[in-house]
Symmetry: D2
């Protein structure tokens, strides 16, 4: 298999670590560059001892200048940077012919006004934001294949959008009454020294946060509105749970008149039968994060509450694999013409 | 302080253990009887080594016959038995003059048809079921004070009913659109050998279960309908989380026209200012189970999602204290004229 | 019960929090002062929401000047400060007639040379260090009763010293071959923002640290040498485990010639039969931290490995109760003539 | 790569699950048979939902008769059966020309008397037990290559034997004073319904068990005695910790006269430089299980306690990978002439 020269920009967080885990073992990747301001000059395996003695893990972190990255030189770059920082790299890399998968929120939205509303300042490169493809392979595969730059979906949005899109497109649910409750592992909060994420503050703790207007709403509503064919707004409530990784989302929506459980089942099956990483558990089967952690799968179960006329959708994924690095590599595989599951059949 | 001779019937599960923890240190209780078929003849501290050397913990488990219990003789009895078993003890104890606090579901409902719908068989003692008082001190204090038998609320229902009742009574929310997502620690599943609750099956796992028609819906809807003044149905989704104890419930409801966050705040403050175990965190403040575990407090936070016109209620409690044994002891204190917080100012 | 006016100096860490938990409910304590540079002016319950609505928890943190503390004025003061900071308070408080229980390492040692060897600088108040009593109630009760200042034992030392002292005094074990392996919960590392204690770095992780010369060796060897009647050195290996609180220590030692399991059992029983917080589990019974967390008990089990002639001692305690705040309150009770278990029968 | 037709006998426990995880993705394996009495007729992915949609995971569990296994027909068989059950399969499979890797204790020992002492009954096939090779690739590679049957090492023994063997062979440590403290995740207790392994009994719990004479001592002492060139006995203390997988072992031994830290370092480096799955962390570096979970690596750190003349060895592995299935597959790779790391470069 040909190997694509690949850079990871901002590789020292949990998302970066998980992305490196996948790329180090990916048969279609030659990792030529990993950047970290903090760890410049150290080997990947010095910072992430898990990687010690794995071929390629003796690569040294570089500083994060565009020149340094381009000198390696990469054909592809993953950006695992904070929101608002990726945008500083996008244009320079794209114009140098590097195909980019950005894992931040900088290239996920189409509408600059929505970006400003949710991220609190104008976007720094609106044309590139509007060119970028929302990197959800299940729904944007063809665009991803030809994209110069992909905005890889957020972790919560992936778990919320996937079960809803087919139902909204088929008009099986009312667009107005969607409520998504999501539970996330602590890796979702990032690898940073903060008393809020101290072991003793998270262990034996369950708490909501970021209500009522989490930033991820912007991309969720963008994709769901497109699927529904009309603008919609949802209520989204994220929670922090004492697990390392995993997102479990429970979404409720009002069924459209006359819609039965069987309609829901048929619609989901039709939508995802050939999707390699969406596993439909069947009606009445709840999803469990322990079956998807460290994999690129998202598991989806569903049921109908006949007493209230609502569908209940339950989706489980790993927040830093399907919800971040894995989904990004899936897009990368499509962009470079590799079989979709290359390097992603992780257990 | 006078000490009430007290029996605990069915003391070998997690609820029984927590109830014993409270009663052993309760200055108004003389523990005269604890029953367990499985552990008959062993000391409490043999089965629960945590209690070793605590005064009173050398009491020996008895068999569970009514005669044996009455011989001790108790003035009060807590029933920490499985659903469908408590009913076998209720009448005999009550008629012998023992005042009963039942922690099972057997005496929580008023309507025998609802009982049969949710528990799958006719109730075995409808008159006593209808006499029994729903043991939520915040809303039924006066009835509890004079009750012969109290049906102590379920763990999930407590966390759902408390924040909603004042809002429904004041008609600040629509009764039709309530959705409650609850997260429970594994103690809620009971102390039993079952591979589903093996450490490795629960740790690093998050999953929903029991959807869409959990039995607790029956008492939740009974109490909420009474508060709303009309029958209502809600969607309730329980989840199992990798913590020992704790319930976090996130409830959403549509605001009635013209209702603002301030109305919600004022209503909750008015309802619970004098309730010793309801702690109002204030608008915009999420609840965290780690602040209530092992206490009899329930913490309530709330916010309004202006974009969708919904209120978001967040409540945290310990499922086996405020959600079981602690709330039962609170009712006991009221029944026997003790200060409400006696033995319950647990940290 | 008379109530002793009490100050807690440095109340914002995990030890301080646990100490406050005990003191707020202690019937012989009137909490008149709690200091915190970081949280000055905030109520205890603002920083520790667990305490909200508990009587006394509306007390506001003060700044940490001696003048401010003395103005409250206290009869007793607990110092829950970092090592090297307590010494700044000791003399001023003692000379003002305040009886002091210090939870840091500043007043545990007798020998200034040992202090300097292990803590890296000369002690700032050698006379007061030498006056201070090592606050282990099981072995220094009479001295504690009359002490102006007590150096409360460290968490690891408590679990190691208690099972060994009677065996060394009775010469049942060789002083030369003692090895202590200790496992501690993460609260032992303190409440500080540090990536090493991030949830994801501790959960699903087990690791040793601080080998081979942890500072606690100094007080361990001081007490064990006194018991043995000769200088001895041990090997001590601390580990960090993914639990909030708890220490489990497994200690091995070579039996003296002719010593049997029965000799060990008899010796331990004789030493601790009347000690209210030492629970002897019996020969062959391992200790489990889950039975002692949040209590002031230390559980001790033991067995003999006939094949190698070694005794195996297993001790479990809560590192921030019996290993810190609880043991300190035990000393306080003795100092002020209160029944020893006052406020400490925690479950 | 040629694919070896492979059977897994007894595939429904945690070891079986982990072995299947490795074999399903192993490029040199064609999984033709998996047995389970309990799950006969169900697909692997029905019982282990993590495997759903993974190629090969639709294989159905068979009953466990030798005839059924041989009919598939396999060239290799892994036995992941309880101790005492594997022996029923060994001879029949071997005589049918199937090369066997047994993960139980049935084929690890050489001496029938030792087997009977530790396992409580005579071995049922002494000749085959004595023919079997102890499957530790680092020390028995050549014998493994030609073995008909391999007894794969136990989880605890692997972590204890690996750091000690080179030091004993080089006579750098005294054979008489070795003490090994091991901490294991709960998967080590097996996938069975037992209240002792209920989430609430293990979470926030730390406890020793199985002292003083755990069965694993038999194989540990067999291998260490061989390395030392004389019979030796050690003290071994296993503990149960609240993690899913992982073993951390801390071993102490007395240094031989004149031995320094540098001698230890040199000896370990020389022994393991070319071993693909032994990672030497360097002097003074503690091992952490979180870096090895789900991998086939064992990480080894070490230091010398100058004050007592002891070496401290710290080793971390995944108990069901390097300590079970992964080490077995390593032996399989050697037996079938595949590159050693095939299918085992797991992250």
């Amino acid at each position: 298999m040909k190997r694509v020269k690949t850079a990871v920009v901002g590789a020292s967080g949990y998302t970066g670590q998980e992305l490196l885990r996948i790329l180090l073992l990916h048969p279609g990747v030659e990792l030529v560059c990993a950047t970290s301001r903090q760890y410049e000059g150290k080997a990947l395996s010095d910072i992430f001892p898990r990687f010690r003695d794995v071929p390629g893990a003796d690569l040294k972190f570089r500083g994060a200048s565009v020149e340094s990255i381009l000198s390696t030189p990469p054909q592809a770059a993953f950006l695992a940077l904070p929101h608002g920082v990726s945008v500083e790299y996008g244009r320079a890399l794209v114009e140098a012919g590097v195909r980019v998968v950005d894992l931040s929120a900088d290239f996920r939205l189409n509408d600059p006004a929505v970006y400003e509303e949710f991220y609190g300042k104008p976007h720094a490169d609106v044309p590139l934001m509007q060119e970028a493809v929302y990197g959800m392979p299940e729904w944007h595969r063809d665009q991803i294949a030809h994209a110069r730059i992909v905005g890889s979906p957020g972790c919560y949005p992936t778990s919320i959008i996937l079960p809803l899109v087919p139902l909204l497109r088929a008009k099986l649910i009312e667009p107005g009454g969607i409520i998504a409750n999501s539970l996330s592992g602590v890796s979702g909060a990032g690898r940073k020294a903060d008393i809020a994420y101290h072991f003793c503050e998270c262990n034996e703790s369950m708490r909501a946060y970021g209500v009522p207007r989490h930033r991820h709403l912007s991309e969720i509503e963008q994709e769901l509105s497109a699927a529904a064919g009309c603008p919609l707004r949802i209520t989204f409530i994220p929670h922090l749970m004492p697990v390392n990784t995993g997102i479990l989302t429970t979404t409720t929506a009002q069924l459209a008149p006359g819609v039965s459980l069987q309609h829901i089942t048929d619609c989901l099956v039709q939508a995802y039968t050939t999707a390699p990483f969406v596993r439909l558990l069947g009606a009445g089967k709840p999803a469990d994060t322990k079956n998807v952690t460290r994999t690129n799968f998202v598991d989806i179960g569903w049921t109908v509450d006949e007493r209230t006329g609502r569908v209940i959708l339950m989706s489980a994924e790993d927040n830093i694999v399907k919800g971040a690095g894995g989904q990004g590599v899936h897009a990368f595989n499509i962009m470079f013409g590799l079989p979709e599951t290359t390097g992603l059949m992780l257990l």
